[in-house]
Every structure is written in C-alpha cells, then in structure tokens.
C-alpha cells in the first residue's frame, strides 16, 4: 500500500483527510473526505500531493487499493517490484534454446580421428616400461593411468591419490591394522561421505547399499586376494597373453605390468637395451635422491638390475605437472543438449 507522507507544514486537518484517502474507507468516511477536499482550494491539494514523497514500501500487495470509477479514491497502485524469474519461466525460453543449440553444435569427432603417427615420439621414462606414444596427451594418459598413484609396496596402480592413500593405509600400515581391531577405520570410498567401518566387509555393504556401487567394484579388493597377485608376478613374461582374457573377467585390481604395454612386440628386442640403460640411470637417481620410504625397494632394484622386473621405488609427487598450463585452445566440445 502506498502511503503518502505530507510535509510538516501541513495542517492536521489536511493531513487527516489525506490519510483517509489511502485507506479502504467506508461510505461515511468518503463523505468526510469529499467535504474536506471541496473546502480546500484545488491548487493547495495539488501542492500538498506535489510535496509528498513516496515511501519505499516493501512489496506485499500493491493492488490493495481498488480502483474506483468515481475517482475519489486514489486508484494508482504502482510500486516498484523486484521480479524473480524461475529457470523455467517463459522469458528464458529463447536464451535456453540458444544454449541448447550451442551444446549440440559443438560436438566434433574429428579430434580423435587423427591418423596415428607412424613414428613414435615419446617413450615412457619409467624403468621397465617400454610403451611409446605419438602424442603428449597419450603419454600423459598412460602415465596417469598406470604410473601415477602407484603403491610402492605392491606396485598396484590406483586411480587417484585418495584411493592410493586408503590402499596404503589398509594394506601396508601396521598401525592401521592395530587400530582397526578396536575402532572403525575403514573409510567409505565415496568422497564426501566420511563414514568409517570396522571391517572392509561392512564398508563394502555400505558401498553397495547406500552408494549403489557394483558388488564387484574393482578398486575395493580385500587383502586376502593379495596372495593370488603374488604368484602371478612370476609369470610376467606370459602376462602379455594372460592379460587379454583376464580383462574380461579380471578381479579388477589394476596390476601394473608395463612390459605388456608395447603393442609392437617385434620392437621388444631393441627396446630392451634402451630400457636397461634407463634402468641404470634411474637406479642411480633413486640411490642419490634417497627416497626414505622406499630405500629397501630401491636398493633391491639396484642390485637386481633385471630389466624385465619393473621397479617403482618412488611415489610421484603431486607437484609433477603434465599439460597444466599448456596452451590447448578450445577443444571440440562433447556436450549433448538436455
């Protein structure tokens, strides 16, 4: 409701009559108003209203004043209004269509259809890994998938730093084992959940029941499966063939077997020399760097000098940057409209 405040030099009678104007008045009051107005000079009325300031009222129901055809009550009801528009409001329709068309149009598949270069440009620098790549991106993906987040004790590669931390804690930390006997130590794997459990079985039940994870989630293997892995390591030469059917029904823990990654088996002979040289240099580096957590593994690697056995005696620090800050331009977007 618009309230009109009159200037201080107005006489009370005039103010009273003006206030009456604003209210939903009954017929008797209307008569009084009319009387007052008739008595007043018209220019005075105009002047009074002219000196009025409109209050900034909170918007409740600006239409409270009913317009009247007799014109003796102020029928004007404009008040400034804040307008909030819901996302489905019709006024947003055109802009939304434009947005959807943008998402549709930018799908390009050409990016991935580039013919692979016949000459390999990059080789993985991890000792024992003889994979080669034709682009930095491919190398980055290879490295991130298989050499990053690698457990130094059992050489398993985990998909993320967090899962690696959990793995190390649960598989290789004797303090954890002790604490786990009396308190809930097994963390839920879903980031942000925060719940902990007494056993890995309880955690698994939680993952399946609450988070709708698959029962055979591959990054949540219990420790007793570790035994099976150890025996497999002996057969790394045969692993090239073993991995293939394994992928279909593998238990899913990402075993890092770099020697199988080369897809050009005839090159293996020539690569071996390369690898062993790298091996030497790498071992040298490790010894001098003196990674504390993995001294035993490094030492073992140095004395072993067997190119076929991959040695990961360090955990890649998270500050290692691949592609960060490189100029990429805008990739072909792979969006899809809603």
């Amino acid at each position: 409701m618009t309230s009109i405040i009159c200037d201080n030099d107005n006489q009370n009678k005039e103010r009273l009559s003006l206030h009456v104007l604003c209210l939903n008045s009954e017929s008797s009051t209307v008569t009084i108003v009319r009387y007052c107005l008739d008595r007043m000079q018209q220019p005075q009325v105009r002047q009074l209203l002219g000196n009025a300031r409109y209050d900034q009222c909170p918007i409740e129901n600006p239409q409270q004043l009913r317009p009247s055809e007799s014109g003796d009550r102020n029928p004007f009801s404009f008040t400034p209004q804040l307008i909030h528009l819901h996302k489905d409001h019709e006024m947003f329709e055109d802009g939304d269509i434009h947005r959807h068309m943008y998402l549709q149009d930018l799908y390009t598949s050409d990016k991935d259809d580039k013919p692979a270069l016949s000459v390999a440009e990059f080789a993985c620098h991890i000792s024992g890994c003889s994979a080669v790549f034709s682009s930095l991106e491919e190398y980055e993906h290879h490295y991130n998938s298989l050499h990053r987040h690698v457990c130094s004790s059992c050489r398993r590669s985990l998909p993320s730093a967090r899962l690696l931390d959990i793995h190390i804690q649960e598989w290789h930390d004797s303090l954890f084992t002790i604490l786990a006997q009396n308190q809930d130590m097994y963390q839920c794997l879903v980031e942000g959940c925060g719940q902990k459990f007494r056993t890995s079985k309880d955690r698994k039940a939680h993952l399946i029941g609450i988070h709708k994870y698959p029962p055979d989630f591959r990054f949540d293997k219990s420790r007793k499966d570790k035994g099976g892995r150890e025996t497999k390591k002996q057969l790394h030469k045969d692993a090239a063939m073993e991995v293939v059917p394994d992928v279909c029904k593998s238990e899913g823990v990402c075993e890092v077997l770099c020697e199988v990654l080369t897809d050009q088996p005839e090159k293996e002979e020539s690569m071996e020399m390369h690898v062993s040289e790298e091996d030497v240099a790498h071992m040298g580096q490790c010894a001098s760097a003196g990674e504390p957590a993995d001294v035993s593994a490094a030492a073992h690697g140095c004395t072993g000098m067997e190119p076929q056995k991959p040695r990961y005696s360090y955990r890649v620090p998270t500050t290692v940057c691949f592609g960060h800050g490189s100029v990429r331009g805008f990739r072909g977007r792979r969006g899809r409209r809603k």
Binding site: Q56, S109, R333, R336
Partner: protein, 436 residues
Amino acid sequence: MDTASEGQGVVDVFHKIHHSGPDREAHMKVLSKALRDPSAQLTFIKLENSMHLLVGLLTGSDARCRLQAARCLHELSRSPHRDVAPACLPATSYLLTYLSGQSTRFTELCLYTLGNLCPDSEVVQQKLLAQGIIPALASCMEIQRHNPAVVEAVGFTLSQLLQTNDAAVKVIPTVLASSLPAQLLSVLAPDPNFALAPAIESAWCLHYLTSSSRDNKELLSRGALLRCSSLLVSLGGAEGNKEEGLELLVCPLLRCVGNLLCCCPVEELNTAVADPQLVICLCALLQTYLQTQPALARESAWVLNNLTAHSNTFCSALLTFNLVSGMIHLLPFSQGINTLILRVLANIAHKKKDFCVQLAQLGLLSALCATLKMADQEMVTLSLDVLFMLVVSAPQVAEEFVQQGGVSLLEAIQYNSKGEMRGRATYLLEHHLLSQ
C-alpha cells in the same frame, strides 16, 4: 550404410574385441566410431556381456583401451534412445572414481559421458547422486582447476545435473554446501587465466542455482553478485566487442544478476554491485541486442528493473549517465520490452519528485501520449500510473501534458472496457487536469 549392416558391424567388432590380443585397441576405435549410430547403440547394449566387457576394459591395465572404452561409453551416452542410458549404469561408479585422477582427456570424456547420462533417466540421476557425483565434481574441479577444458567439462556436467527435476531438493542443497559455488565463481574472475568456454558453463550453473530458488543468501555471501556484475560490465562495456559466443556468457550472467538482486537488501546493494556503470552496460546491451536478439534485450531490461526498484543510487545513475532518452525511444517497441522499460522509468519516477521533473524534461510525456494509445492493456495501465506520478510532481508537468493534447487521450480512455483504466483516467482528469 544401412542399419542392418551397421548392426552386424557392431556385433562383429564386439566379438573381435572379446577375443583379441594386441589389436584390441584398433578394434575398439572401430567400435567407438560405429557407436555413433543410434541403431548400433541399441544393438550393442542388447549383446550379452557387452557392458561387462566395456567396464572391464575401462578399468583394465591397458591405458589405451581404457581411453577407447571411455570413448565408446561417451558415444553411448549421446544416444537418443531412452534404454541406453540405464544400460551404462555399471560404468558410472568407475567414471566417478576417475574424476579424481590426473589424465585430462580421459577425465573430460568421463565428465561428458556423465553429463549426457543425467537428463533423461531418473534412475540414473538417483544412482549418480548416491554414488557421490557432487563431491566427485568438486574434487575434480579442484584438482584440474588449471585446465580450462576439464573445468568446462565439469561445468557442463554440473549444469546438466542442476536442471533435473527435483534438483532444487535433491541436488542444490548439496552443491551449495560443497566447494563448487566458490570454484564456479573463481572461473568468472577476470584474471589472466580467464577462458570463455569454462566461464560459459560456470555461469549457466550459477544461473540454474539462482533461478531455482528465491533464497540465494549463500551465493550472495560469497560475492556472487559482485563477481557476475563486474564481469558483465567488462564484457558489455566494450562497444565493438562482438566476439562470437559472447552472448552465451552474457545471457546467464544477466540472469544471475537479475535474480540475485531479488534477495540483496537495498542497503547492501552499493557494495554488492560496486560499479554504477552497470547501468551503462545494461543499456548498451539493450540497444545492441534489440534487433538481433530481442530476448536478450528483454532480459537486460528486466535486470534494470530489479536494479532500480529500490535504489536511489541506480535511478540517479540512469539520469546522470544520460541513458533515459535512449530508453524513452524504446517505448514504441513491443515484444514485452516496452513494459519492462516503462517499469524502469516508473521506478525512477517513484523515487523523487525531482526525478519526475527530469523525466518530463527528457520527453517522457510525449512518449506517454503515444503509449496511452496502445492496445496493450498492461502498457496503458502502467502509462497511466507513470503519468500520475509525473503530473503530481510539479504543476508545470500537468500543464505541459494538457498542452500536448493529453486531455483528449484520457477522455478516450474513459470509454475503455477496463474499469482499471477508466478509473485512472477519470481520477487524473477530475483531480489534476481539468480543475485548473
């Protein structure tokens, strides 16, 4: 290529992948291309163990096959068939797990796949939420914040999630409680790392957040209004800046500012929108897009309304920066723009008598003489309201209106079918115009 042979092609490739050795990656490339075809997508998901195989490759020890598996899933996620998205569910927990990894291209693919799977299936949405997609997106954005392509992909996926039914209840509270709002806002910062595509996605996310609820205190407290309005000023201010795609960012920014203004208390407005030149920017957008994209012009006018509704500062700015004449000239235009512009002018008139006098001097009265003749009832009613405010502001205004032949216009309105209009016209005539 006809459907039948393509379907057979998919079956053949699937078997090759199932049984092969070193050539597997090549076969998977063939599969991913084949899966661009919608009928091949259907064929594939109906093959026994096809998804199981794909998931196995996605999580296997061959990095190249992982990438190809992700590509295949991405193609499947784009399917127009409703059955395909639910068939991809076995892969989602892994796609989410990989979001915390470091591979950029692979992460992008996982993101777009997840984003594509969101819209059509409620089953999929529920599962993704249960599997922790929101914390995963927050973590991904944090890890990859220096990579524009991945940030863009996170923004896209989040925007898909925010548009689902019940997002206001099931998604938005969790998003607001996460680090995502702060990250989205940082993407809009005009620093050297600014990139258009990720900014577009972030702005659309913020739009869905601010438009789904009237309560945006959380975002306001993080400086969302300041960030969005500042960016808008940077973009809209450049007169000749017609970079393609800019309106894709301007649009959601306008909407964010418009809706955020609704819950910003007047006393905080000057700090929340630090730059009064925002009004210049909005008027420039209004003029720029009037012919080419009237919807965007309309949204600019809407923002101006919200900006001027309760603020003397911004009303005054419109006058100071000489923007009112330009707005008055837009009153003859339709498409919903003129009512909003008239509301803005009414907001100005409502503040002070002095503003009314200025508006009259700038030609609003003669413009009203035109708008009072329009067929649009809302426009006429509003015109009468504005006229009232002008007329009572100063005697010379009423006189001028009479001189411009306004009386006969009002007398004509007295025969209008709508009581609202008749009442207003009569009141004006009786109390202010005929009693001289």
